[in-house]
Symmetry: none
Subunit: 152 residues, 2 copies
DNA sequence: TAGCGTAATGAGAACCGCTTGCAACACAAA
DNA sequence: TTTGTGTTGCAAGCGGTTCTCATTACGCTA
């Protein structure tokens, strides 16, 4: 039997996730998530790119809403956020004795841990040799979420 | 014999590097580099932090000059720059295979080559596990000089 | 299915980190 | 000391992101 409101045949994980949190499904939110589903995983888009892609295909969603929706989708773990924006770039003294810097960076709080790994050093050396470059230094940045931020 | 200008007993690598490039040593540049030397390697500061640390210790260097000096020190390979965030955050559909980006970058002309290396990927995974972080993405940046620029 | 409370949107101002243009300054060579 | 030009400080500008607030509209309930 079909009740008047049962046109929602398959409430998506997104929709039910929203509902269970007192939030609402809107056309704008659908459009943003659909865009990512269409292009598939492994491709990164900036907020600006999401905006222009939607605009080009005739969908009008304001930039402010896109930013809000992206944050929401990240919090709901439908999207992955790359790059650390808070605090801007950082600098450290380059020690010429140990020309390798490996960092594990929490993208939420900025917490940074250093670590050493010889294979990474060798990979840098090998790549430089392969292309005929003269190696100066190599740095591995691992973007991750630290335990503290995971539990928030 | 001591000529009038020979009070410079030990022109530092920084100073001679500047000189050989038609650039000048200034109190501001000295102060910025000294700050990094005092705190030692392995500690990262943002431009803003450099500015406030200098201000607190009574040194007046404008923020604009600090940004210019940091860029200069990076180009001269005295400092290491972390997190070159290429214009804002990016988002991607969450998937469980972690993308990795490895780049060989010529610091003179900007030429960039990509390469793949599984050991690097594994090193990132291992480090994240060690510290209890949830891995998102790792990127290895190898700073080097390309063959073309070597012959100039 | 109409009414209602409140979440969400759009538009623009505000903000933040960073860069740039420009006039004044100061190294360093003559 | 003079002079040329690299450097600085200030303020304006810029790109990305967040905030404010009036308006809109989702979806619960009667």
């Amino acid at each position: 039997m079909i009740s008047p409101s049962s046109y929602r045949t398959h409430p998506s994980p997104f929709e039910s996730g929203l509902r269970s949190d007192g939030k609402r499904m809107t056309p704008q939110r659908k459009k943003v998530l659909s865009l990512f589903e269409e292009i598939g995983s492994g491709i990164h888009l900036s907020a600006e790119e999401v905006h222009s892609k939607l605009t080009i295909s005739g969908e009008k969603v304001s930039l402010a809403t896109i930013y809000r929706t992206l944050r929401l989708l990240v919090k709901m773990t439908f999207l992955n956020e790359l790059d650390l924006s808070e605090g801007g770039n950082r600098f450290e003294l380059l020690s010429h004795d140990h020309p390798d810097h490996h960092h594990l960076i929490c993208i939420r709080c900025g917490r940074t841990e250093e670590f050493e790994n010889n294979e990474v050093i060798n990979a840098g050396k090998a790549a430089a040799e392969n292309f005929g470059f003269k190696l100066l230094e190599s740095s591995l940045n691992v973007r991750a979420v630290c335990p503290m931020c995971l539990n928030k």
